[in-house]
Symmetry: C2
Subunit: 419 residues, 2 copies
Amino acid sequence: MREMIQKIGGQAQEASRTLAASNGQRRGAALRAMAQALQTHETEILAANTADIRRAAENAMRPALQDRLRLTAARMEDIRTAVLKIAGEADPIGRILGGGVRPNGLRVERVSVPLGVIAVIFEARPNVAADAAALCVKSGNAVILRGGKEAVESNKAIVAALREGLTQTGLPADGVQLVADTTRQSAEALMQAVGLVDVLIPRGGAGLIRAVVEQARVPVIETGAGVCHAYIDAQAELAMAVAIVENAKTTRPSVCNALETVLIHREIAPMLLPALARRLGVYPVELRCDEAALALLPGDVNVRPAEEEDWATEYGGLTMSVRIVDGMENAMAHIRKYGTKHSECIVTRDYAAAQRFLREVDAAAVYVNASTRFTDGGEFGYGAEIGISTQKLHARGPLGLAHLTSEKYMVYGEGQIRT
Amino acid sequence: MREMIQKIGGQAQEASRTLAASNGQRRGAALRAMAQALQTHETEILAANTADIRRAAENAMRPALQDRLRLTAARMEDIRTAVLKIAGEADPIGRILGGGVRPNGLRVERVSVPLGVIAVIFEARPNVAADAAALCVKSGNAVILRGGKEAVESNKAIVAALREGLTQTGLPADGVQLVADTTRQSAEALMQAVGLVDVLIPRGGAGLIRAVVEQARVPVIETGAGVCHAYIDAQAELAMAVAIVENAKTTRPSVCNALETVLIHREIAPMLLPALARRLGVYPVELRCDEAALALLPGDVNVRPAEEEDWATEYGGLTMSVRIVDGMENAMAHIRKYGTKHSECIVTRDYAAAQRFLREVDAAAVYVNASTRFTDGGEFGYGAEIGISTQKLHARGPLGLAHLTSEKYMVYGEGQIRT
């Protein structure tokens, strides 16, 4: 296994040098050719996906997961559109980020450069393969994709098409490679490929992220886990609070910026909570409540007592935990204890409370009076992203093209020596 | 051990919240008080250092290392000056890095924030304790210092003074902590303190860096290892080439931006190499040469054949390896194979060669016609630094105040929900 990853890694390193030296025009053309190749080979890709779906059904995969795995003509169209959109974004490479002429005449330039080889470990969504490949190639990086076993046939067909597109523009096919072996060993070998993998991005659930943090020897950008909170302050506007919680919990409960826990100020809880429960009852959202919250709810609500582990759970579905708090301090302490530093929100009309929450809550995105669902590269105005980083190093929040770069200092001298 | 690090880490996390919420004025004042306290307690610090030096002499520590360990009144003055200089730098926290109002009225701000808790593992130079503490506190971070056993008494005395200075300005003493246990176990426990240490910065030799990369579970910024090259092109100006190599090799051979290897184009080697050898013979620099270089040198030069391991060695002293290459391709392949991506230089009058070297050589700093010794925060115009990062993630090159930060998105809404 180690030999196989060494081979793939070496090929990726070599391809990454060609990609890094290529100009933005060619990389943009490569993405357009990759989108075209996805269209040309759509029949094969859909057939491969059908095989994956058939196996998934035989293995009694949950319908929601089967849905994530399924490709259709419409979804293929979405994938191509996403690739073309990335093709049209500004080149993140070769930007002059700063610098100047030093007193001794030395000209120092800080310039954005590719990271080199990016490995992406993902689970059962085959669109990630095309998305990640497009972002990496656009930013001059080679990519090693290692998808879940459920999507292996789909991924093989997609990557074959992407490689064909790459070579049509004279770039090396090994700029995009798939690790077709989907055993745990292949993921582990990738995590330990020091010198071959410049950055590893796990894209998936909490279990995957944890495994990578435990085992990786190569640099990692953590993405994904989101136990997001809304704190409803005593000074909140009730209708706004209900609308924000409804939106953040129900519009797409499986994604990482969805809400998991509502913290409600004791003073406003008797008014807010019954109204909120009625609104969420429509979907229906199951509420996991602390004792104080339970006491405020009528008997016909879909509710049960929260266990300790509820507070730390990313439900990924129509479940939400509810706790009554004595105020800001309590709310912030809860968020510190159970949050994943993803997206946190306060609903309030109080200026000082809003400012304090923004300043003191430690997360990739902190909100006043808006849904946590906005944590997204497109919504923030930064374009396509490969995930939401919840770590503090390198990139935090939506992980877009600009973050798939490093920098280097280019120094232009005329014989300067240091005295 | 784990319990001790858990305790220190928890205290650091708590202190980091106070530091992060403090304004730049107070953090600047804290650094001035820390400098003052170093002066007030100079007698104790020098006495502690004398104890370290006495033990070092008993243990027959090499004189060069003893010199690194030794503090004097003049060196204490330098340390205070460095702290005061950092105090005067611009606040790296709270900078608005970007953002704007989205079409739905949501105001998205990207703001610089502290990393949180930074752990610094260093070796026997006690000035690192004050330097690292000043940089971390100035950037709103708590720091956990873990120095080498040789400097333990000096570090204890310095950290006691720094903590006194911190508290005098109302900031928590635990913003600066020392792990007084200098066993390997304490370093390992720090490397594994996930959730307590936000970033670990090893500052020391290749062995320390390797151990950290192998064992760390927390995010790391690699610094230090520098196997730096100068490639002397066929079109180099001879006198300039000699002056640059002399400067880069001899002015401070123990530092990471010093030169280790010269790669000389075959065409220019018969003219350059004897002149270079004569110049370096003054110091004297020992040359470790490949066969082609050996054949060009007279018998009286301080020279011996290079072994394979020479090419990968950071000598840290007056030794340099020399290889004759057939051109740019060869030189770049050598740098790729043996370099540590720190600082690389080409000496040439050829425009195309210069541009290609700048573009294709993958290192934190690439130079045309200047000494690699300029890779330094101050020399580049970016102020004090905690080391030179040789990794691609987060920061590359001089690691200054601006790199001891993360960022967060602050989002100001008026009830926006995502449709």
